[in-house]
Every structure is written in structure tokens, then in C-alpha cells.
């Protein structure tokens, strides 16, 4: 999923302070799972903001709504009838949701309420880790299911590098060396012969460096 983190409330206040009628828009997908922008977070933030502005003698109306997704036309259409009632939308969706909402409602400011961090997994409640950088050409088949693109600081393709110590990355003792993890897993699967094979040069053309990317599937387009 896409992992996001809450923005500090003073930053949010600074962003919205010039508006009077604000729609706080949550998303039921990834940001709900990582407890940054779902219905509950919308409720808490809206309540806090209402109290803050009231306390500071400013009349601000903050209404709440949480959509199934903010990255799909059909759900974003649900606010078409009401969007003109607001001076601004504070979206607690990931950057995709913020932009898609902004695209659709051209004249309404759409402001981000969370920091979108990475594609990751829930290690345990309150801890999320990065697992994928969406490089566009998955190599997990040859790396024991562990991604050196997202989990190795140097994105080494034939690792480990000389900095790997006791299974930890030279970044520090809190970071596992991705290549140690790869070796451990290949060993466990009895596939160490794969480790001996040199990885070919990775084709980075599908990565972000080539500019914004598009996936097009003619077979399913209508």
C-alpha cells in the first residue's frame, strides 16, 4: 500500500488559515490502513481544527467527508454537487488523491494534509517499512523475493557491498543489509546457485528517471 504520515497540525493550520469553508476529505484505502487519512483521522483533525480556530476567534467551518477512494473518478464525482460550497479542500489522501481531486475541481484549492512516504507494508501497528520503489521492471524473481532497489541504500544489483557488517547495512545497525536478506532467503530455498549468477545491467528506462509514467492496457479499455 501507499504509506503516508500525518502532517504536524501547525503546518496544516498554516496551509488552511486563509480559508473559511473547508472540506476535510479522507480516503478509505491505504491512508486508512496506515492511520493517517481515514475517517477516524478526519474526525480527529476536523475536531481539533474547529477548536483551534474557535479558540483563536476565527470563524471557520470545517466539514468532513471520507470517500471510498480519491484516485478514482467515480468516487470523486460524489463531491461534485457540493464542491462549490467550499473555499478549499484539505485532502488526507496520498499525493495521488490530492492531485486527482485537484485535476477534477479546477478552481478549488486542494491542499495536502499528509506526507506521502512510500510503498510499504505494516510490520506491526504503528510501524511501516518501505518495500517497493515501483521501478517498473520487477526483479524479485532473481533476488529471493527481496528487493535491492527499495531496500538497499545503494541499489546494488550484485551485492552486498563492502559496507555490509553482521547482516546490517553500513547505514547503521537499524537497517538490515538487503543483500544479506537475499542470501539468507536463497540459502533457505536451496537456490544459492542463483546468487552466483551475475545480474544483468538493470533497465532503468521504466523507472521514474524517464519522466512520469503511464500504464496502458488496450485490452481492457472501453
Amino acid at each position: 500500500m501507499i504509506v503516508a504520515d500525518k502532517k504536524p497540525i501547525d503546518e496544516v493550520i498554516e496551509t488552511i488559515k486563509d480559508y473559511e469553508k473547508i472540506l476535510l476529505l479522507g480516503c478509505n484505502e491505504c491512508v486508512t490502513v496506515c492511520e493517517a487519512g481515514g475517517k477516524k483521522e478526519v474526525e480527529v483533525l476536523a475536531s481539533a481544527l474547529r477548536m483551534y480556530f474557535l479558540n483563536n476567534g476565527k470563524k471557520v467551518s470545517i466539514e468532513e467527508k471520507t470517500l471510498e477512494r480519491q484516485c478514482d473518478h467515480e468516487y470523486l464525482e460524489e463531491i461534485r454537487d457540493v464542491i462549490d460550497q467550499y473555499d478549499a479542500v484539505l485532502s488526507l489522501a496520498c499525493g495521488v488523491g490530492v492531485q486527482f481531486t485537484a485535476d477534477k475541481y479546477l478552481s478549488t484549492p486542494v491542499l495536502p494534509g499528509v506526507n506521502t512516504c512510500f510503498l510499504g507494508a505494516t510490520e506491526k501497528r504503528g510501524v511501516w517499512t518501505e518495500r517497493c520503489q515501483a521501478c517498473g521492471k520487477c526483479i524479485l524473481a532473481s533476488t529471493g523475493g527481496i528487493c535491492p532497489v527499495s531496500r538497499c541504500a545503494k541499489r546494488v544489483m550484485n551485492g552486498p557491498c563492502g559496507g555490509s557488517t553482521n547482516g546490517k547495512c553500513e547505514l547503521g545497525p537499524d537497517t538490515d543489509c538487503a543483500w544479506q536478506l537475499i542470501i539468507n532467503r536463497l540459502e533457505a530455498m536451496g537456490k544459492m546457485d542463483e546468487y552466483e549468477k551475475l545480474s544483468p545491467l538493470k533497465d532503468w528506462a521504466t523507472d521514474r528517471a524517464g519522466g512520469p509514467r503511464t500504464v496502458e492496457r488496450e485490452d481492457i479499455q472501453s
Binding site: 504536524p8 497540525i9 501547525d10 477516524k40 474526525e43 480527529v44 475536531s47 481539533a48 481544527l49 474547529r50 477548536m51 483551534y52 474557535l54 479558540n55 483563536n56 476567534g57 470563524k59
Partner: protein, 118 residues
């Protein structure tokens, strides 16, 4: 027991303190409460194992939210007691009443009154 505790305290009954969420505490302040406290069972004796631990975390979270918007976090509190400890219940009620009286009125309520009058 015929114990007395401050009459300004309103009791909201919940099946378990684990039911109490951050938003419930915040809403009470939005609605004008001067303070809010959660009284749960003793730690380790929750019938649902960890309801009261969850409540404690949420009380802390609510306190942090309040503090971030300039309201004293001491206005929310968590207490634990067993259902047989009526005297302690009254004691905690008096203690909370004292803390809140020292802090004074909920600033949001004051601000709302001022705004409504303007």
C-alpha cells in the same frame, strides 16, 4: 456507601473503556466540557484483556491533540479502579474536579461564547 462526589461530573457509560476513542474525548471539549476523564478497570483485569490499555493510549493521544492546539493536556486523564472501590471513585472525581478548577474554564467554550455574543 452514600458517598458524595462533585455534582458537575456527568457520567457517560460505555461497555468497556476500550470503546472510548480519541474523537469521543475531543467532542466533549468541542461541546464545552471543561475536562474529561476515563475510569477503567484495574490494569491487568480487563475482561477483554486490553480495553483499558487501549483507553489509556487514546487518552494520551487526545491529550497530545489538545496540547497541539493550545489546550492543556491535563484536562484529560485516565484512572483505574475495581468496581468495588466506590470510595476511590469519589476520590478520583474530587481530584479531577480540583485539577479542572485550577485550570479554569475550557477555552473553547469561552471563545464560543465570545463569538456568539459578537
Amino acid at each position: 456507601m452514600r458517598l458524595e462526589y462533585p455534582t458537575n461530573i456527568k457520567i457517560v457509560r460505555v461497555p468497556c473503556t476500550g470503546k472510548v476513542d480519541v474523537i469521543h474525548l475531543l467532542r466533549s471539549f468541542e461541546k464545552g466540557a471543561d475536562g474529561a476523564y476515563v475510569v477503567g478497570c484495574l490494569e491487568g483485569s480487563c475482561q477483554y484483556n486490553n480495553g483499558n490499555f487501549r483507553a489509556r493510549k487514546r487518552v494520551e493521544q487526545a491529550g497530545e491533540v489538545l496540547e497541539s492546539i493550545g489546550i492543556e493536556k491535563e484536562r484529560v486523564r485516565m484512572y483505574n479502579l475495581s468496581s468495588g472501590e466506590g470510595t476511590l471513585f469519589a476520590e478520583y472525581a474530587r481530584e479531577m474536579d480540583k485539577i479542572i478548577r485550577e485550570l479554569g474554564e475550557n477555552p473553547v467554550k469561552k471563545a464560543k461564547r465570545k463569538m456568539d455574543a459578537a
